[in-house]
């Protein structure tokens, strides 16, 4: 007889936006359970770097537009699933104050073959970077705060798809 947990619906797309840190191992095993026909899983994580062109950084502050964020990430995930026939997608994006080396974002995808999994994960990251309503402020070691400018390279990365 199936337990409560086994009966719980497992959605192909799972998205969370929250201040709390994530564990890649846990997210990966969830993705794997939702991917019984897949031969390839790609997981991308983005980390806070401890410097920029101006010097050392203490961390970042991530602001977002709550009502729009999940909607926007969901639309990106659905596009990727249709384009590369992905079996499952997980996106976790943190918000609020993060320190150097903290995890910011996780994108995990599963597919039958590795090309689809690599392309699908990269597509999601390129679109997330240019369409999802998050804004980053860098906090210097001295405590100063500065909004980060959008990068042309991110726009070009998006335009390649």
């Amino acid at each position: 007889m199936p337990t409560e947990t086994e009966k719980a619906p497992s959605s192909a797309i799972q998205i969370r936006v929250e201040p709390r840190d994530f564990e890649l191992g846990v997210e990966y095993e969830s993705l794997r359970r939702r991917s019984s026909a897949s031969g390839a899983i790609v997981a991308f994580t983005g980390l806070v770097r401890d410097f920029n062109a101006a010097g050392s950084l203490a961390g970042i502050i991530l602001e977002h537009y709550p009502a729009m964020t999940i909607k926007s990430l969901y639309a990106i995930a659905e596009q990727a699933m249709a384009k590369w026939q992905l079996e499952a997608v997980t996106i976790v994006h943190r918000v609020g104050r993060l320190e150097s080396h903290d995890q910011i974002v996780l994108v995990g995808v599963s597919a039958r073959h590795r090309d689809a999994a690599f392309d699908g994960a990269r597509f999601i990251m390129d679109y997330l970077k240019t369409e999802a309503p998050f804004w980053k402020k860098e906090v210097s070691e001295a405590g100063g705060e500065e909004w980060v400018d959008a990068k042309d390279s991110d726009q070009r990365a998006r335009d390649r798809w």
């Binding site: 983005g46 991530l62 602001e63 977002h64 537009y65 009502a67 729009m68 909607k71 926007s72 994006h93 910011i104 974002v105 990251m125 997330l128 970077k129 240019t130 369409e131 999802a132 309503p133 998050f134 804004w135 980053k136 402020k137 909004w147 980060v148 400018d149 959008a150 990068k151």
Partner: protein
Amino acid sequence: MIKVLFFARIRDQVGCAELDVELPDMVDNIDGLTGVIKAQGAAFEEALSDPNLLIAVNQEMAGGQTTVEDGDEIAYFPPVTGG
């Protein structure tokens, strides 16, 4: 009534996160609404003239010609920098 939201650098520039705007009879799109908001003061005029400004209508990306009607939620923000 239109609910207007400002985020990130744009919010800092206008000094305000949220604004309720009464839509004048002649105004039915984003360009019109933006004009009404700019008239509220120099900070608004400057922030909303940013050539890179992005606009969402009911949480979807929109352009100057996108229709706006009573009850909509409009957001103004700079290019996104997440991930």
